[in-house]
Every structure is written in structure tokens, then in C-alpha cells.
Symmetry: C2
Subunit: 478 residues, 2 copies
Amino acid sequence: MTPAQTAMVADLSRVLDPAGIVTDPAAIAPWTVDWRQRWKGVTPAILAPRSTAEVAEVVRAAARHRVPLVPQGGNSSMVGGATPPEDGSALILSLRRMTAIRSLSPSLAVAEAGVILQTLNAAALTIGSRFPLTLGARGSATVGGLVSTNAGGTQVLRFGTMRGLVAGVEAVLADGTVHDGTGALAKDNRGYSLDQLLIGAEGTLGVVTAAALRLVPAVVARAVAWAGVADPAAALALLRRFQAAGDAVESFEILPAETLDAALAHLPDARAPLHGRHPWHLLIEATAASAEVEPPAAFVERVLAQALSDGLVADATIAASEAQAEAFWRLRDSLSDAERAQGPATQHDIAVPVDAMPRFMVEAAAACEARFPGTRASGFGHLGDGNIHFHVRAPRVVDRDRWFGKDAPAISRFVHDLVTQAGGTISAEHGIGQMKREELARLAPPGRLAALAAIKGALDPLGILNPGKLLAPASPPQ
Amino acid sequence: MTPAQTAMVADLSRVLDPAGIVTDPAAIAPWTVDWRQRWKGVTPAILAPRSTAEVAEVVRAAARHRVPLVPQGGNSSMVGGATPPEDGSALILSLRRMTAIRSLSPSLAVAEAGVILQTLNAAALTIGSRFPLTLGARGSATVGGLVSTNAGGTQVLRFGTMRGLVAGVEAVLADGTVHDGTGALAKDNRGYSLDQLLIGAEGTLGVVTAAALRLVPAVVARAVAWAGVADPAAALALLRRFQAAGDAVESFEILPAETLDAALAHLPDARAPLHGRHPWHLLIEATAASAEVEPPAAFVERVLAQALSDGLVADATIAASEAQAEAFWRLRDSLSDAERAQGPATQHDIAVPVDAMPRFMVEAAAACEARFPGTRASGFGHLGDGNIHFHVRAPRVVDRDRWFGKDAPAISRFVHDLVTQAGGTISAEHGIGQMKREELARLAPPGRLAALAAIKGALDPLGILNPGKLLAPASPPQ
């Protein structure tokens, strides 16, 4: 520990309970590496307060001693957003002990930052409601991280990202001020929205300690279908038919045949949902929150039957049971892991306008493979949001150091250029973190970058909140 | 004109067409007074660019010459937010000539800042869609003003405020940078949301030049009902019944008998919707965007019939024709004008949590009348949003100077204290502007005020954008 860190921890030992200051290297280790194992950070201590007041004390101590903090929830960032820097200068501020669901009503939950998404989902269900956001990491991702990354997931098509689901944020600002927006007034126009500013700020403007989250009525029936189509254009045409027929579709995921193959290889018990081979696959979920509307299965069957008879869809099946529905979803949720098991790759969480995505998927993959011979490029994900995870796999024979050190960054720049030219974003849902910071600096309009840096400088003048994430540090903390 | 203003206008005469620089005092005069005639400002010129590029030139010239700008749309601010300061230091930047609807699809319109709400509504209708926000000033309020004030109105219950309806903002920042968020990607996590920061910023952080706005399917059927109830608690109970029965209700407005009386007196041709006298009245609108769902009239009748038989509602009627529906709405939309015609009053646009509003309405009115003898206090408005317009009328015999100079401000402080104690907001939908600036400074947590001021200082360091609105100027522009 540096002298400043030692003094800060000594101060906090009078505020936090013994479990609130973790200095055992073995206990710290798992939290200094991101889950993709790309960033390995160093920290001498994890601070784990139990309340907003304690978080405020930690932040005040950090400001006093000029020790940076890395806020951390489930540590499931895809962009190194929660990993401490390598120089050991920062302490991790873990929110994982703040696990209270402070209130729960049919339309609103106020949950602390450390509540795990799956726990929140389960709590909402007990009162006949649901929090309509889910993602592969639901067993580890926390409310604080979901807010701070403006998380998306597989239900954005119908319910939007966190930005639309958060009714208010409680956070500790860099000066120790507690901002409490969880009163969740339906209307409040008292100046700039700090809540919205904190959503997606990746812990660089404040430490999210709780959030008021909108709930919707629980699902009473769902239909999960799997369909095979010729290309992404046919997939989008099918989505438009579903949307014209009603608003029940909440997931519309696309994946190419080779990605399905990878998932089937990765999951030993999994079976292909369709017979025969199709170039592209779709996972479609429709739900109903009331027994009085058309059953989702009937709705999905109606639209799919027409599409089959028109030749828009080559084959399709509706899960005959909840077990089969879960099996379909397990295939989808395993894609990241399955691709990781296939060897070195570089991933891109990108979006373009929805209508432009089918063509982009095909053309960008072809352009990539032509430019970088031996690579295999493909995208899967949230077609209905115009957001895919575009992965480029390394050639079979590859020098890993060269790949990760040189080829992968070059490929990423190439992909990001294509996306930018298409009016898209280099980060649709994962954020910027460490991974995309230089790319953001390279591609964002200078005026926008200047505005972001000005906001950061205004709200965190000492640079103590997650420095080096999203934006380059203005200067080392004094 | 000051020498700096003269030099700035000379610069801009090479950029703007002749109609873009208005210096005729008679042409300027109507735009220097707010519609409630509370604030009378002074300016030597109105600048009226026709394009975003021209707005950027105006802002750059303002920065160069250190001349503040007051962005202005329809000049229908309720809080003096678009009125220039009295010292003549600022020029008005009118967005009223930017009237293009740049694109229109079933789910999205990109409209320039000067597009009038009614025009946007009409344009959406031509393609079978609608922009689900309306308010009394729809014939003058512009897109830029609606975005900059995070406007609400009578449909927030179902569709939310502007914050949820804006998919992206185009704006000119204080350094002349054009921020373009109108690409309207469904997901985009490239750092802090400038779009959300500009919504509700009252033109103090940037000049909104266009916005991408979400559209929903047009209404194919609506039912407009009028009901009489004993008290606000019964009204909220009725709303909860409607919400439990479906999601078709999009307006649920409450007004007391004396406010209805004022409207009936103000509109010579208007008739009371119900026979007999009821302490409180409700205007309820339900809509359907498809002929395949339960007709709204049947839905409303079903819920009202049960409520009548239970005694929750004393009397109710459903408009038998569009003409009658319009007549009901005309009563509602005339309330502000009608109350203004009754003599001096002080108005408060406040919100508390929805469930707390019935009790608040009754108790706050009683507390006000007890504390300020001779006054009459009552609230009307958006019960479903927990947002009412709480008006306190002066005693019949009143010294106007004393009322506006001393009594009304004292009453407002009293009301705002009550609202703050109830966890509410002193500005639910009108914003802060000039009118509530000191009250915001008095009642907001100091840490929050410091954060707002830091953001303002970071994004408008020269203080050229709508100085003195929302926040006190940090220092006079140099």
C-alpha cells in the first residue's frame, strides 16, 4: 500500500466493519481480473461498505487522501470497466454487500446496487410483477453495474435498455454528496437529470448505490420459437411482420449456422432445434401478461405459418414445453462462452440503424474476411435493436501474442471504421471501459469528446472515480 | 446595442439572410414578454437562423463577442424561461424558422426545433401514426422548447414525458460544436448521454436544433368520459381500477367544482358535463390503436358502471360524439386562462408521489387557506402523474402590488415547503426558468446545486447560453 492508501484504510477502519476491508491477496485476486481474462489489475484492498452512508464515507476518504476508487458489482464487464489499473494505485469499492431490496410494489422496486439481477427478477415474480431486463450474466450482474453500463440484453426490443427502466438513481458523487433520485416522482423538472447522467457513466461520475426500477406485470404465457431463414434480410422482414401483427414479441435474436454449431459443440446435451441446415437461425419469444389477450403461441404460430407458406421462413418450430423453451434459450445464452472455447477471437458490440443491419452483417463479414485472410467473421444477437455481437475468429494456426497484440486491434479498428461509416456505434450495450477507450477517442467527434471530458472534470475534479475508464485521465490524481 | 452586440450582428449579417436579423422594436416586442406577462425583458435584436449550421455560426459569434443568447421557440414558457433579461445584454435566438420535418416513418419523426407541436401531430397523423404528447399550448409550443423543458402534458400517464419520447437530440453546444444524436440508434453506450442532459436543460447547456421523436400508432377509437366524485382519494381509487382493468387510459385529469365553475364562466358556450353538483370532477380518456381490442367506450363504461354501482363515483357520462369529447377537453384546456381571468393568483406546478397526492391536495389547500386568510387554494391537473397545478387565489379585495410583491412569494414559499416535506418537486413539468430559480436554490440539496452549477460551468464556461435561467449566473460574461 502507498502511504496515502494506508492512511485512508486506517481512517475507514473506524467506519467499516472488519469484513468491509479486504486485504487478503487470495480473497482479492478473483476481483482483479475481468471475466474474459483480458485485464489483470492490481489492488491492495477491497472496500465493501454496507450502506449508502458508508459508501459516502469511503468516497470522502478517497477524496481526502487522493486515492482512486474502482466501483465494482458482479465484475462481469465485457470491456474491463470494473478492473483496477495495473499500477496498484486504486482500491476496489465493492457494492456487493449492499443487497437490500428496499421496497417492492407492483410497478416499482427500489434495489441496492449489490442486488443480483436474478435475485431482483425472482423478488418481482413473488408479487406477480417482473423486471423486464435479462442477460446472460444475470447470475452475477448487479443493479449498480446494470445502471452504470446502461445494460441492454434480450428484451430491449419491447422494454428498452436500463435508461428507460430506471425511474431514479441513488448515488454518491465525488465530493461525498448523496444524490437521491429514488423518490421516483413521475415528473420532476428541477434542472439537469443527474439520474440520466449517471446511467451509463461507468462509475466515472458517481457511485451508484441504489436504483428505483420500473416493473411490469408478470408473464402469464410465453411462446418461444426457433426459425431458419436464408439471410438477415429475411429475418428482419419476419420481425416487421410480427411487429405489424401485434406488440407481443420481446426477443428476436439472430445467429448464423456456424455459431449454432459452436453452441451445440459447447453444450454436450444440446440438440439442434430444427432438422436440416439453414444459413441463419432466429430465436423468437412472445409473451402475454394477461390471459385475456391472444395466447402468444397462437400469435407466433399465425405469423410463422404465413411466413412459411410465403417462403420467407424455411422452417420453424415452437417450443412444445417450458423445458424446450429453456433449451432454446440455453443455446442463445451460451454463445459467448461457446465462441470463447473456439479459440482466439476479437469481439465487437456494435449497432447500426435497424433497417441497415441485415446488409451490414453480410457485407461487414465479407469485407473483414477479405481484408484479413484466414479469419472468420460473423455476427449474432439482437437484430430487432440493430445490435449484434460481431466476432472475428483468428485463423486456425495463429501466434496468440501476435493476434492479441497486433492483428485483433487492427481488425477492431477496421470493424469500427465500417460501423462509424454506417452511422453506427462502436458500443451498443457493453460500454467503453478500458477496451474501447482509445477507439472512442479516435472515432468520436472532437466536440463530443471535449464535452464528455468537461463533464468528467466538473463532477470529479480530483479524478478519483474509476480513472482511465471511458475517458483518459485528465492528469494523475494529486 | 452594445459595441459587442453591434459587432456580433455585423458578423452575422454575412451569414444570415435579412429576415434572420430582426431589429425593429415593434417586431421584437411580443417576444420579450412571457405569455403570463410576468417577465418583461429587453433585447435589441432577434436572430433567426434557418439551419443548424447557421445556429452554430450564431453561437460561435456569441462566444467570440461574449454576447449571451436566449434560445426561444413558441415563447410559451410558464416560468419565464425564454424571456430575455431586463438589462438588454442578451439577444434572442429564435428557432422559429427551423420548421422542417426532416423525416417521418411510422415509429420516428425527426423534426427541427421550430416545428409547432400541432403541426407535428398533424404530420404524424397523415401516415397513421401519432406523437403522443399534447398540451394546452400545442398551437404555439415548439419541438425545441418541448425538448428543452422536458414537457409533459395530458398523456404522460401512458406515454411519459418528453424524456421518454425523445430518441435523440441535435443541438449546438456553447463552443459551436454540433451534437447530433438524431441517428436514433436503439442502443448506444458511448459515454454520458448528452441527449438526456440537454432534455430539460432549458437551453442553458446547448441550443436544441432538432429531435428524433418516437411515434406510436394513431388512435382508431377513443372514449372521453366525465365523472363526479366526492374527493381526490375516490378519484385515485377509480384510476387504480382502470389501470387494473387494462392499459387504455391515457388521460386522467382532476379538477374541483370551483375550477369547473371558473371554466364555465370563462367559456360562454360551454355547458357543465354533469347534472347536479359534485365536489370533484374527472376527465378521463381511453384510446385504442387497433380495432381488434376492446373498444375504449366499452372499457370505460364497464369500469365506470361498476364504480357507480359501488358508490365510488357519484355520476358519470361518456361523450356521445367527437364534438362532445372536444367540448370536455375544451373545458380542461381552458383552465389556466379561466383562472387567470378570475384575478390575481399564484400558481404552483408541483408533484408528489402519486399515492400521496389525494391527501396532499386536500391538506395543502386547507393549510394554505388557514395560513393566508382570504385566499382560496385548489389544485387541478394530472392526478395519475401525481402532478397538479396548485393555485392560490388572492382575496377578493387585494392590493395587486402587495400581492405580487410580497404575499404571493410568501405563499409560494409556504407551498414549496409543504411539497418538499412530502418528498415532492417544486417543478413537475414547467421547469425552473426565472420564476423558480431562487426557490430551487433555497430548497435543493447543496450538493445537487453544486453538481448542476459544475455541469453548467463545464459546458458553458463563458455563460452565453440563457444566463440566469435555472441557475444564477456564475459571473457576468466577460
